[in-house]
Amino acid sequence: MTEDVVPVMRIGDTLLVALQGDLDDTTVIRIEEQLTREIANTSATGMLIDVSRLSVVDSFIARVLARIVAMVRLLGAQAAVVGIQPAVAITLVELGVPMGHLDTALTAEQGLALLQRLRRDDTGTDLP
């Protein structure tokens, strides 16, 4: 499947993706495939995944989000998840989804600054 599922905006070297709506598992997987392609096909060095319009993130969606971030890193770029709603964050922590290793920011603007910092700090070693 190669058709695009989500619109991806480019700001400088960073790709900005805003997820929205109620996502079923197939859609989530297709988004993962699309974003991996986008990073591989562009010279983007960062990706911000905006989840502020997701009112539900269950363990599957969370797991795929973490996988997308890991893949972006493998492809030599940095990724951060921005805008997790407070109710979603509380739910994810209680659900027990391990997301502590994800770089996150409250807003897209803070996310851009975070990516800048990650790029600067990126000396080839894994960040905690």
Binding site: D22, D58, Q85, I90, G96
Partner: protein
């Protein structure tokens, strides 16, 4: 375990057998959570727990099929939502193990059942290898 009584509000009952039903389950739970006056955090927890349980049916039940029933409940002046997920098999062999974090027969994170349990006020599982599995979750308004 019985919690509360029915109201005249008709329960939502429908089959689960396709991925699109994940979205329907979330939508119905959201509407019922609103009716019961659950706050945003509690509604989100209930919807997420329901999403996990519906996915369990798709992934583990015979033919990936099952049913859900969602209803309003009342107890001592408090309102709540009860959702009952049932399937016709094959049943959970070891419920205690299935309720343990990290236990999975499918290579997933194994958070489905124990995670759902943490998100609701009450969760009961009945399961045997002849009649299948029923999981009942309850969330009360604060």
């Amino acid at each position: 375990m019985t919690t509360g009584s029915f109201t005249n509000h008709e329960p939502d009952v429908f089959g689960i057998g396709h991925e699109a039903d994940l979205i329907r389950v979330r939508k119905v739970l959201r509407a019922e959570a609103e009716t019961a006056g659950l706050n945003l955090v509690d509604a989100t927890k209930l919807i997420t727990a329901g999403s996990e349980l519906a996915r369990n049916i798709l992934n583990y039940a015979t033919g990936g099929r099952g049913r859900i029933r969602v209803e309003q409940i009342h107890r001592e002046g408090r309102r709540g939502v009860r959702a009952t997920f049932s399937d016709d098999g094959p049943g959970i062999e070891d419920i205690d193990a299935a309720l343990t974090d990290g236990f999975s027969t499918r290579g997933s994170l194994g958070l489905g059942l124990p995670g759902a349990q943490r998100l609701v006020d009450d969760m009961t599982i009945t399961s045997d290898t002849t009649s299948g599995t029923t999981v009942v979750i309850v969330k009360w308004e604060r």
